[in-house]
Symmetry: C2
C-alpha cells in the first residue's frame, strides 16, 4: 500500500510530518511518499534519517498556508495538496494524509477527486473513545449547512465505517440532538431522523451530548457545525479535566507521592483520553481516501493518521459506501432517498450483510421482491 | 428573601428536594417555601426535620410528570409549578426553583410571568468551570430555533449576569462557532456576530468548543440546540474522564495506594469538575427569577440551585437587563436592535457603567447627545 503525505501541511511541517512518515514506514510497513518542495523536504529528511532515499519525494513547488482561504488554495496549481490529490486520482497512491489547512483540503479534494456517486456532500468522520469501545462522530466539520438527506448519507457512511473498520456489529446510529424525546430537535434533525429510520440502519433515535462517550452509541450523526462544536468541546473538556487533576496532584507532598505511585496506571489512562492516539479525521464522501490530521500534529499523530488511512484502504470503505448507495439509489429510483427505503429494509439488513444478499441476487438474477 | 421551591419536581422529589430546601434555609439563611401536595410534603418534611413547621407549605394539588408535554402541563391549573409561578408573579416570593420537567417550566413560566420587556425569547444560562474562573453558556436549551437578534439579546443578558453576579469586569463575549475565522459559522452566527459587534459589549468574535473551559472567554453565546448539545457533551466528557481515571487507580496495588495518598487533593478536583457544585440553570428573559435544577438533583444540588436563585435576586439581574434593553430600545427607535447600537457605544460602555451614565443624564436633564 502506498500513501502520500503532505510534507508542507501543518503547524510543525515539514519536520514533524517527515518524522511521522518515517515512523509509519518503520512501524506500520506502509510505503509513504512525501509530497512537497523538493530541496526543503530533502534537507529535512537527511537530518532525520541515515538513508535519506527511504521515502520517495514527489516535488510540488507551492505550499498552502494554514490560514489561506480555500479559493486561494485552489488557485495554486502546483501545491503539495493538489499534487498529492492528483497522485491519488491517478491511482499512484491509495490514500493521502495532510495536517494542513482543512478547508483547503476539502476544497482541493472535491475539485480534484469529486464525490463518490450518490454522496452529495463530504463529511468528516472522527473516532472518539467511549467507556467501552470506539464510536464515530460524522460530520465533524465538513458540511455546515445540511439537508436531511445529507445526514442520511452521513449515517450510512458512518455505519459502514464503524462496522468494517472498527468491527462494530450492526452499529447503533443516533442523531445528535438536544434531548431524547421525539418532540426535541430542530427541523433538520426531525426530518433526518425520519429518513434514517426508514432505512435498514440500526437507528436508535436521538442521542444527547452526554451519550457520546457513554458506550451505548456507535455512530453519532450531525451537521458539520454541531459536530465541530461538539468535537472541540470534547477536546477542551478532556484537556481541562486532565489539567485540573494534574493540578491536584501537585497540591502537597502526599498527593505528589500518590501520583508517583499511580503514575504508570495514570499514563495509560491519559493516553486513552488523548485524542492524538486516535489518528486523523477521515474526509469521507470523496472519491478517494483522504485524512485530515490535526494542524499541530506531532510525529505520533502523523503516524496514527497514516494508520487510519491504511485501515480505510484495506477495508475498502469507499467501495462499500458506493455499493450500498448505488444499490439503494437503483432500487428507489427517483424517490431516492426516501420512504422507499423502508421497502428494501428486509433485503439489506446491514451494510455488512448486504454484500451477501447482493451475491444471492446476482445468482438469482435479482428481481425486486419487496 | 423568600424563594419558592417545587417540592413535586425532579426524579428524587419530594425527599431530596425537601432536604435541599432545609439545607438552604440552614446554610444560606434564605426563607424557603415548599410548593406541593400538602399531605405528601408534610409527611416527608416531618421525617426530615424535628421542627416540621420550619418550612411553610403552599398547597398545590397537582404535580407535573417529568415526561409530560408542556401543553399537557399547562392544562394543570393547580400544579405545584403553576402555583409557584403565581406566587412569584404576585411578588410573594422573589424566585422559584424547580428540578422538574424543564419544558413545562419554560412553558408555564412564559404563560404566567411573560417575558421581560424587549426580550423576545427566554434563554437558559448555565455557569461552567474554566481553568481560571467561571464562564457562562447562554442559551443552553430554551430556544432551539433562533434569529440573530435573539442571540444578541442572549449576549446582553449573559454579559450582565457575568458582570453583576460572577463579578467579571467587562465580560468577553463570543459566539460559539466551528472555527475562529470570520468566514466560519453559519447564517445565524454570522448575522448575530454582526449585531453583537455593533453594541457596547466586549465582543471577541467567534469562539470554539475547545475555548469554553480555557479561561479566555466569559460569555459563550449560542442557540439553544447547539448550547444544549455542548453542555451535555461537557457533562458526558467530564464524567467519562473521571471514570477512566478512577479505573486507572484500581489497576494495581501501587495505584490504589497512590489514590489513597492523593485522595484528599483529588476529591477537591472532582468537586471542581462536578456540575452539581454549580447549581441550577437560570431561565433568563422571564419576568421573574426562575431556576431549573437537574432532574436528578441531590439535596446539595437543590441547595446550590436555591443559592443561584438568591444571587440573581440580590444582584437584581432582571432589573438591569430591563434597564439596558429599555435604554437601547428607546435610543434606537424603530431600528432596534441594529447598527444604531454602534452610535451609543460611547455612552454605554458596559452594563455596569450604564447606571452611572443614566444617573448623570438624569441630573443633567439627559438630552440625547450623539
Amino acid at each position: 500500500m502506498r500513501i502520500a503525505v503532505d510534507a508542507m501541511g501543518g503547524d510543525r511541517a515539514p519536520g514533524a510530518v517527515i518524522e511521522g512518515a518515517l515512523l509509519a514506514q518503520k512501524e506500520l510497513g506502509i510505503e509513504v511518499l512525501l509530497v512537497g518542495q523538493k530541496d526543503v523536504v530533502e534537507t529535512e529528511l537527511a537530518r532525520r534519517s541515515s538513508s535519506p532515499t527511504c521515502l520517495p519525494i514527489i516535488p510540488a513547488s507551492q505550499a498552502v498556508a494554514m490560514d489561506e482561504s480555500p479559493s486561494a488554495a485552489l488557485k495554486k496549481k502546483d501545491s503539495s495538496m493538489k499534487v498529492a490529490f492528483e497522485l491519488l486520482k491517478r491511482g499512484e497512491v491509495q490514500a493521502f494524509v495532510s495536517a494542513g489547512n482543512s478547508g483547503a483540503m476539502m476544497a482541493t479534494g472535491m475539485f480534484v477527486l469529486g464525490n463518490l456517486p450518490h454522496v452529495e456532500r463530504p463529511a468528516i468522520l472522527v473516532v472518539v473513545p467511549t467507556l467501552t469501545h470506539a464510536a464515530v462522530i460524522i460530520d465533524a466539520g465538513a458540511t455546515v449547512d445540511c439537508k436531511p438527506r445529507h445526514l442520511l448519507q452521513f449515517a450510512l457512511m458512518g455505519s459502514i465505517y464503524a462496522e468494517s473498520v472498527l468491527g462494530t456489529p450492526r452499529p447503533r446510529v443516533g442523531v445528535l440532538s438536544n434531548g431524547e424525546e421525539e418532540g426535541k430537535g430542530n427541523d433538520l434533525t426531525r426530518a433526518a431522523s425520519e429518513q434514517i429510520a426508514a432505512t435498514a440502519l440500526n437507528f436508535i433515535g436521538y442521542v444527547e451530548g452526554r451519550d457520546i462517550c457513554g458506550g451505548n452509541i456507535d455512530v453519532v450523526v450531525c451537521d458539520g457545525f454541531t459536530g465541530n462544536v461538539t468535537l472541540k468541546t470534547m477536546e477542551g473538556v478532556a484537556h481541562f479535566t486532565v489539567a485540573v487533576l494534574k493540578d491536584a496532584f501537585q497540591k502537597n507532598t502526599l498527593s505528589r507521592l500518590g501520583y508517583l505511585l499511580s503514575r504508570k496506571a495514570l499514563r495509560e489512562a491519559f493516553a486513552r483520553l488523548d485524542h492524538t492516539e486516535y489518528g486523523g479525521a477521515l474526509l469521507l464522501g470523496l472519491d478517494g481516501v483522504a485524512i485530515i490530521a490535526h494542524g499541530g500534529s506531532s510525529p505520533k499523530e502523523i503516524k496514527n493518521a497514516i494508520r487510519v488511512a491504511g485501515e480505510a484502504v484495506s477495508h475498502d470503505v469507499n467501495r462499500r459506501i458506493t455499493e450500498v448507495l448505488e444499490e439503494l439509489s437503483h432500487q428507489a429510483g427517483d424517490k431516492f432517498p426516501g420512504k422507499i427505503w423502508r421497502r428494501i429494509r428486509s433485503k439489506i439488513e446491514t451494510a455488512g450483510e448486504k454484500n451477501a444478499v447482493e451475491e444471492e441476487e446476482r445468482k438469482g438474477k435479482g428481481d425486486e421482491k419487496d
